[in-house]
Structures are given as structure tokens and as C-alpha cells.
């Protein structure tokens, strides 16, 4: 923390804490509107079938039923999709996975609505279900007929069941492998993980007196909701206003639409407000999940450990709709090299439609999967070469003018500090010399594991408006949803710092598509970095207007003025000659100049690919973002009898540029570690044929207080990114990314077995130790 800052760097509890501990926060399920109806959804019983017709007579006749919508209510061109427009709000013509929404009812009560959907008769003609990418690639049956003709925002190479393909290449991998002394090649697999925000998805829509739709929903971006509902219903965006209640966690599953277009259609048809909140089972079955990956990694090294060439090939299960998947494919490949110097790289992969729930954005966006593979292999290379795995990484990490894969310049690089601080804090070197991390209990083996990763914060557009009120306090309006991570607090701190005013003099506006500046979303670890910089820009505009006013009031040149702490403009070097924001605000509102409003917007503008360095095919993100870094050491204990692994301690060093609020940064790191532990050890969505077998919290376990170690050491590394607000970068995802790989490496050291498939269950570890993989 730097002494010159008043707000930035302070450990401030989130500004809405009191409201949350008193149970006064309103989430989507807590909202009610006059005359509100309740919605329910009919889900598909088939994985793949044509819809031959509907019989709604019995459902319509039920007392209390006010509206029914089916796929026929959505016109053919009105398809949604962040990358490929392939999805109607309700199944139209065909169903493509078990659980897909087929029809929806609005009724006086939820019970009536649920009974009515069961009274809807749909005639299906079953088609062959394609449940794996391999099966789908080999089949002549197409999940989307005519995918080639869908509107796409990228060159996706879509054909048949191939949804998209992406490739990055630098140097010449064939030559690189030829020049290598040792070449290692392994195949890895990762599982589907459910987001399990404790708040299930839901939405409430009503028509205002002008006939415009107002939509509240559990979401990560009011602007994405507005755009997707407009697409799905074929309405101009001016007809739709989106607002947000408090959000009960998201992690990616509330970024793209879930039930909002369905609820909007019901409200339009019923002419009344309609609320629909998914049950936990429905939330599991019809929203989205983390992609299962199959990954082949081939790495060539010199005898001295110098990295020469790496090839990574991935195969992603897309599920039935593209959603964010082309982005996940492309982004995972961008991260698959790792934060290392490799003269020769080729990362390529395919994304394949299957008859399963769509997979989409989930904290880490494909990076935890490829990092599990790449970082596992680097440990095995270190063992084969007889060198310390951390030393091997330090020998090869990006430094100086080294670039990200594709050629993007690194605007800051705290990699070495992350590695060294995690290593030193964890006592890695002593452990390597034979000291146990901590005495193992009888029948247990304990060891450390390490992993290192990079991840971006950035992407697309953000804006901010700072408006001074008549009394000299300000209103900050950014349109960015706080989904629990604390951005309302962090952005308010940035605003207070930029204007040198107390935090309590900043009011934070809840996002509203009618009044807030555009913000793409709370995703891609981007809000602190992207929106924070917009806030700095808007505050600078306010500062300019304040100084113009003050120069007239103090009769001096603008250049001679500066902001001073506490909300005043003073003559430089003469702090007693000052004028407060209160006086300036009064003058601007009532006498001269006009009320003070500052605004700033920007789009992330550094190219991902430098064509002189790299070739790219099917690039989903031409301008990706600033890179953050993280090194993790985990202390894992393996039970020799059951094989079960338990994480006992974690050290996580994250390069966040600058911590605007270290308390909240630590909260992100700790939460990311817990989710990473879940992915590594506990969580797996399992399909029984085409049907999700564990869509309940009874059967799908997430870590509890008993699975997450109490001892977690968050180490904040500050590399001061020149592009970030006060030097800040994102932390939301990077904290999770290395954790599964570090756990896998610790299991290897403890139990002597390398597992190539997640999750690392006790059974798999035990089978591995018994030589039965």
C-alpha cells in the first residue's frame, strides 16, 4: 500500500455488507410486482428429437393459466448466441438435449404453472443422440442442420457437428521437436463442472405503461440480457430495459441468457408481470457448465531444461449450443503454452456439438483445463531431467520483452515474484531437501505441489459516468454488476481516490440499461481493470470541469490548480487558497458552467496477434486483455488406504498489478482456491446415457468447510500495470487456474502416481498406486 493514497489500497469491507448480514438484500427470487404471475418450464425428455406438434388444449383450460409459449412463438431468424447465432429461447423444430426448455406457462401460482406444463402434450420423433465429440464428428446426423449458414461473429470453420476450430502457431514445432533432446507427450481429460452459485437462475419481466419490457434477472450484465432478449424476441433494444437485483454468485453461468427471453415472452403474451426462478435441478440441467476437455500436450526440451517446442491439441464438448464455447476454445489455446518462452508453439483444437447441456463460461474460461495438462507435464519433465520443478519453470518463464502467445506485449509481468514468494512462503526448498511439509499422520502421505499460470483481465468495452450533485458529493454510474466479488466497493474506491474525496461521498448506481453507460459484463476478470480505468477517465473529466470553475472563482489559471484531499480545489503550493466542491457544485448548478458530469468509455485495444510473430485461425478475441499471473503451492495429504486426497494448506501468489482493496483481493484468491479444490478433487457432472445423473446438491458435491483448508496464504504481488487504474489488473479467475494442477503435482509427490484425468478421486488415486490406472 502506497502512503499517498487515501482510498486505493485500503482494506475496506464491501459497502453493502450491512444490508447483506441483515438479510435485507433483494435477489431475483425476493422481488414481487403487483399482479405478478409465476412461470414454469416444460423440459425435453429426449436428447435429440424433432418436434412434430403441440397440444396445449388441456393446459390452456386449467384455471389460473394465463399464457403459454412454445418454440412457435419465436420467429425463425430470431436466434441468440455470443459467437454463433444458433439458439432459440425455446426449442424450435427440434430438441437437442435432455432438459432443454420446450414450452413455458405463466399462471396465477407456481403450483398451477408447474401442473400446467405437465399437461402440455408434445409429439416428438426421436433422433439418434450424439453424446460425445468423437461420436458426433463421425456421425452423418447433424445436431444443427445448416450450421454453415448461421450468422457468426468469427471465422469458425463450422461444418456438420464441428462447431468451431481455432489454431495458433509460432515458429515451427516440427523443427522444434527435431531440435529437442527429449520430447514428452501425454493425454489428459477433464470433467464437466457445475457453477453452483448458491442462488439459482431466475428472471422477472413486466410491461411498463408504455408497453416496454422491464426485466430484472440473476445476471452478470444487464446489457447482455438486453441484447439477447432483443435477439430472441426480434425486438428493438429500445423496447427493453434491464435492471439487476443483488446477484447470489455467478462464476460464468449468468453471463449469457438463461430464462430471461422465456420470461419476457410470457410477460408480453400475458400482458402481466411474470417471475420464474429455476429449481436447483433445473439450474443444473438447463443453464450451462464447464467444458469437458480432452487434451494432448507434447513438449520438447533441451537436456539442460530449456523449453524448445510445445504442441497442444484439444477437443471440447460444446453441448447443444455454441454459447461462449468458441471463445473458451480460443482462449484456452491462447493459454495452453503457459507463461513460458517457447520458440516453437502450435496450439489447435476443435469444438464439437453434442446432445448435452450447453457448456460455456466458467471462472477460468478453459484455462484451468489446459493448465492442468501443461503444468502436470512440466512436473514430469522436471522429474525426468532430475531438476527441481520450480527451478525448471524459473529457467523458462517470460521476462523482459517476452510476449504472450500470439505476440501481445505484456504490459506488466510479476511472474518471477509470484514464483519466488510462493516458493519461499511455503518452505518449498526445505521440503525438497527432505523436510516433510508437516508430519504425516500414520497411514497418510503428505507432499507439496506447484503450478504456475497466466490469465487475462480485459476484453471489449466499458464506460463510466461521474456526476456531481448540488452538495459536492458524486454519483458513480458504470453499468457493471457486482456479482458478489466486490466491484461496487472497488470502483467506488477508485472514484474516491481520483477525486480525493471520502468514500462515503460516492453513491454507487445499480446498473440500468436506460441510464448506465455500456458495460460488456462482469466476466473475464475485467471489471477492476476495464471499468476501473473508465472511472479514472470520467473522474479526470470531472476534475477538469472543477478546475475550470475554480479558476474563475479564484481568478487564477487552470494550470495553477490541483485537487486536494477532502474535496477541494487549491492553488498549487498555497493549500489555504482553496475552494470546496460544495461551492463549486452550487455555482455550476445555479450560476455558471452547468452541472458537472464527467464520462469516459473505452474498448480494450491491444491486438492479441502480431501477424509478424504468429499465425492464427478462427481467432475469437482479436483484442484480449492484460495478463495477470499466479503461482500456487499446495500441501496435500493422501490416505494410503482410501486414496483420498485432502488439501491441508495453500500458498497462492497472484500478480494483480495493484490491489485496490487487499481485503477483497484476498477474498477472491480464497474463493478461487476453494472452487479449484472442488474441480480437482470433488466435483463431476455425470451423465447416465443422455440424462444428467446428479442434478442435485445431494449427488453433486461442492466443497464444504471440511474440504477447504483453513490455512490459506494469499500473497499479493503488485507489478503496477501501466494500462490499469492505479496499476490494477484482475484477480477473479487467475487465483483458481493453477490450483488443480498444483494438487495433481502434490498427489504425484505424495502417492507416487500421476493421474491424467480429473477429478482426482480417492478411487482413481488408489487404483493408480496399485498400478491399475
Amino acid at each position: 500500500m502506497s502512503a499517498q493514497f487515501e482510498s486505493v489500497g485500503r482494506r475496506i469491507p464491501r459497502i453493502e455488507s450491512r444490508e447483506k448480514v441483515e438479510g435485507r438484500s433483494q435477489y431475483i427470487a425476493d422481488l414481487y410486482r403487483p399482479g405478478m404471475l409465476h412461470g414454469a418450464i416444460l423440459q425435453s425428455p429426449f436428447a435429440h428429437a424433432r418436434i412434430r406438434g403441440y397440444n396445449l388444449a388441456e393446459a390452456i383450460a386449467m384455471p389460473g393459466v394465463r399464457a403459454i409459449v412454445t418454440g412457435e412463438d419465436f420467429a425463425e431468424p430470431n436466434r441468440m448466441g455470443a459467437f454463433i447465432k444458433d439458439e432459440h429461447a425455446l426449442a424450435k423444430g427440434k430438441v437437442r438435449y435432455v432438459g432443454e426448455p420446450v414450452a413455458a406457462v405463466a399462471a396465477d401460482t407456481e403450483e398451477i404453472a408447474r401442473a400446467a406444463v405437465q399437461a402440455i402434450r408434445v409429439e416428438f420423433e426421436e433422433l439418434p443422440a450424439l453424446l460425445t465429440p468423437e461420436e458426433a464428428l463421425a456421425s452423418g446426423v447433424h445436431i444443427h442442420e445448416g450450421v454453415e449458414g448461421y450468422f457468426k461473429v468469427l471465422d469458425a470453420g463450422s461444418r456438420g457437428n464441428l462447431c468451431s476450430r481455432t489454431e495458433f502457431a509460432e515458429g515451427d514445432v516440427h523443427r522444434g521437436f527435431g531440435e529437442s533432446d527429449r520430447v514428452f507427450e501425454h493425454h489428459f481429460e477433464t470433467q464437466a463442472q457445475a457453477h453452483v452459485a448458491i442462488e439459482p437462475c431466475g428472471a422477472l419481466a413486466e410491461l411498463d405503461p408504455q408497453g416496454r419490457l422491464t426485466i430484472w434477472s440473476a445476471n452478470q450484465s444487464v446489457f447482455r440480457v438486453q441484447a439477447c432478449v432483443a435477439e430472441a424476441l426480434g425486438l428493438p433494444m429500445t423496447r427493453i430495459r434491464c435492471l439487476t437485483p443483488r446477484i447470489g454468485g455467478a462464476f460464468g453461468n449468468k453471463m449469457e441468457p438463461h430464462v430471461q427471453p422465456i420470461v419476457a415472452a410470457l410477460a408480453l403474451k400475458a400482458g402481466r408481470a411474470v417471475k420464474l426462478v429455476l429449481t436447483r435441478e433445473e439450474d443444473f440441467e438447463m443453464v450451462r457448465a464447464r467444458h469437458p476437455f480432452k487434451i494432448r500436450v507434447k513438449t520438447g526440451v533441451k537436456r539442460d531444461g530449456t523449453f524448445v517446442a510445445r504442441e497442444v491439441e484439444v477437443l471440447l464438448d460444446c453441448g447443444a449450443f455454441a454459447d461462449d464455447s468458441p471463445g473458451v476454445l480460443g482462449y484456452s489455446l491462447l493459454c495452453a503454452r503457459g507463461p513460458y518462452r517457447f520458440p516453437h508453439v502450435r496450439c489447435h483444437g476443435r469444438l464439437v456439438y453434442t446432445n448435452k447441456l450447453r457448456f460455456g463460461a466458467f471462472r477460468g474460461f478453459g484455462n484451468p483445463q489446459v493448465s492442468f495438462a501443461g503444468e502436470s507435464q512440466i512436473d514430469d519433465i522436471a522429474e525426468a531431467l532430475g531438476v527441481d520443478p520450480i527451478e525448471l519453470r524459473l529457467k523458462n518463464i517470460l521476462r523482459g520483452d517476452d510476449r504472450a502467445l500470439g505476440g501481445q506485449i505484456l504490459s506488466s509481468n510479476g511472474l518471477r515474484e509470484c514464483v519466488e514468494r510462493a516458493r519461499d512462503a511455503s518452505g518449498w526448498d526445505q521440503w525438497c531437501k527432505g523436510g516433510a511439509p508437516s508430519p504425516s499422520a500414520p497411514g497418510k502421505k503428505r507432499a507439496l505441489g506447484f503450478a504456475l499460470c497466466g490469465h487475462i483481465s480485459g476484453l471489449l468495452a466499458s464506460g463510466a459516468i461521474v456526476r456531481m450533485l448540488e452538495d459536492g458529493t458524486v454519483v458513480l454510474n458504470v453499468g457493471a454488476n457486482d456479482i458478489g466479488q466486490g466491484s461496487d466497493t472497488v470502483l467506488s474506491q477508485i472514484c474516491a481516490e481520483a477525486l480525493k474525496i471520502p468514500l462515503e461521498n460516492v453513491a454507487f448506481v445499480s446498473p440500468d440499461t436506460d441510464g448506465s453507460p455500456f458495460n460488456w459484463g462482469t466476466t473475464a476478470s475485467r471489471v477492476t481493470f476495464m471499468t476501473g480505468r473508465a472511472v479514472v477517465g470520467a473522474a479526470a473529466e470531472v476534475e477538469k470541469q472543477l478546475k475550470r470553475q475554480a479558476s474563475e472563482m479564484l481568478e487564477c489559471a487552470v494550470e495553477d490548480l490541483e485537487l486536494v484531499a477532502g474535496g477541494a480545489v487549491a492553488v498549487k503550493g498555497v493549500p489555504e487558497k482553496k475552494i470546496g466542491f460544495f461551492e463549486i457544485a452550487k455555482r455550476s448548478h445555479w450560476f455558471a458552467g452547468g452541472p458537472i458530469i464527467g464520462s469516459h468509455t473505452w474498448v480494450y485495444d491491444q491486438p492479441t496477434v502480431d501477424p509478424k510473430r504468429a499465425a492464427a485461425l478462427g481467432l475469437p478475441f482479436p483484442r484480449i486483455g492484460a495478463y495477470s499471473f499466479s503461482a500456487a503451492v499446495v500441501d496435500v495429504e493422501v490416505d494410503e488406504v482410501t486414496g483420498a486426497a485432502q488439501v491441508k494448506r495453500v500458498w497462492s501468489a497472484c500478480d494483480v498489478g495493484r490491489a485496490i482493496n487487499p481485503l477483497l483481493v484476498e477474498g477472491q484468491i480464497e474463493g478461487g482456491i476453494a472452487q479449484g479444490i472442488g474441480f480437482a478433487l470433488v466435483e463431476e457432472m455425470v451423465w447416465d446415457g443422455a440424462r444428467l445423473a446428479n442434478p442435485t446438491l445431494m449427488d453433486y458435491k461442492i466443497p464444504t468447510t471440511c474440504e477447504v483448508p483453513y490455512e490459506v496464504h494469499s500473497i499479493i504481488v503488485e507489478s503496477h500495470d501501466a494500462d490499469g487504474p492505479f496499476g490494477a489488473k484482475g484477480v477473479g479467475e487467475i487465483c483458481l487456474v493453477p490450483v488443480p494442477a498444483a494438487i495433481g503435482n502434490a498427489v504425484k509427490h505424495a502417492a507416487g502416481v500421476r493421474l491424467f484425468k480429473l477429478p482426482l478421486t480417492g478411487e482413481r488415486i488408489l487404483r493408480g498406486t496399485l498400478g491399475k490406472t
Binding site: 469491507p13 464491501r14 453493502e16 455488507s17 450491512r18 444490508e19 447483506k20 448480514v21 441483515e22 438479510g23 435485507r24 438484500s25 433483494q26 435477489y27 427470487a29 425476493d30 414481487y32 457453477h195 453452483v196 452459485a197 448458491i198 442462488e199 439459482p200 443483488r246 446477484i247 447470489g248 454468485g249 462464476f251 426462478v277 429449481t279 436447483r280 456479482i483 458478489g484 466479488q485 466486490g486 481485503l663 477483497l664 484476498e666 477474498g667 480464497e670 474463493g671 478461487g672 482456491i673 476453494a674 472452487q675 442435485t696 446438491l697 445431494m698 461442492i702 464444504t704 468447510t705 471440511c706 477447504v708 483448508p709 483453513y710 490455512e711 490459506v712
Partner: protein, 158 residues
């Protein structure tokens, strides 16, 4: 299904009479009839703990409790819990320790912690881990919740 029962209960110190279907859960009565939305529906299956409320001093899952079974009982929800010194201490400690992020599980965590402290006034880390293992949180990683519960315990019993 349509049989209803008149139930006399006390909610947050106010005696009330409810006419409810026999199958209605306490969570539905609180949220939909009484507009007490502090208890959350996370799974409706008794696993996540977001709906935890106190019934006659015991922490219960409101989604698994039938209102019809609560005749004569006293229900405390987060909305009425502020007057309880232990809840107040927990609320302050949760804020200071940053033991909440999205806040959705927080009312349930606070009530569960209150019940734990009633049983064990100075819980160890392991005691809190065991005692609160039925309240899921997807944001925090739990360690700050453990710190907050122990900090509140320390303040209540210095």
C-alpha cells in the same frame, strides 16, 4: 393436497395465525406469505443451508420443515435476529472479517453460527468446520466465516 390447517406460531416475536396447506414448508410460508425473504431457497432439499432459521432455539432447514408442524413454536429469521446479542456480534464480525461476498448464503450462515455458539461458546477452528459444514458457500472458501464466528465468540465471552 388442498387440506389446510390453522397454525399459531410466533415469528420474530410476533404471534401470528396462518392458514396453510398441510404440505407447505416453513420456507414458503416465510417467503411467500410473510414476505420474510431473508431465508433463501438454494436447493429446496436441505443440503445448502441457505434457508436456515431458528425454531425454538434450534437451527432448522426451513425448506424441510412443514409449517403445519410448527404449531406453538417460535421462529426466528434473520430479519428479527438483530436484537439477539449473539447475532449482532456475528453480523459485525462477518462484516469486519469479510466473511461474505455475494451474501446469498449469509443469513443461513449467521443463524447456523448462532446455533453453534449456543452449544459451544468458544469453538475451535475444527469445531466451526464441523458445526458449519452443512452451510454451503461458493464464494468465500470458508476461512473468513470461521474467523468471524470465532471472533464473535471471543467478544461474547471474553
Amino acid at each position: 393436497m388442498n387440506d389446510t390447517l390453522e397454525v399459531r406460531i410466533t415469528v420474530n416475536d410476533s404471534p401470528i395465525v396462518l392458514e396453510v396447506p398441510l404440505t407447505e414448508t416453513l420456507l414458503t410460508s416465510l417467503r411467500d406469505r410473510l414476505q420474510l425473504t431473508g431465508a433463501k431457497r438454494g436447493c429446496n432439499q436441505g443440503v445448502c443451508g441457505a434457508c436456515t432459521v431458528m425454531v425454538d432455539g434450534m437451527a432448522v432447514r426451513a425448506c424441510l420443515s412443514l409449517t403445519a408442524n410448527c404449531e406453538g413454536q417460535s421462529v426466528l429469521t434473520i430479519e428479527g435476529a438483530g436484537a439477539d446479542p449473539a447475532i449482532a456480534a456475528l453480523q459485525d464480525a462477518f462484516i469486519e472479517a469479510a466473511a461474505l461476498q455475494c451474501g446469498f448464503c449469509t443469513p443461513g450462515q449467521l443463524i447456523a453460527a448462532r446455533a453453534l455458539l449456543a452449544q459451544n461458546s468458544r469453538p475451535s477452528i475444527e469445531d466451526v468446520q464441523q458445526g458449519m459444514s452443512g452451510n454451503l458457500c461458493r464464494c468465500t472458501g470458508y476461512n473468513r466465516i470461521i474467523d468471524a464466528v470465532r471472533k464473535a465468540a471471543q467478544r461474547l465471552h471474553p
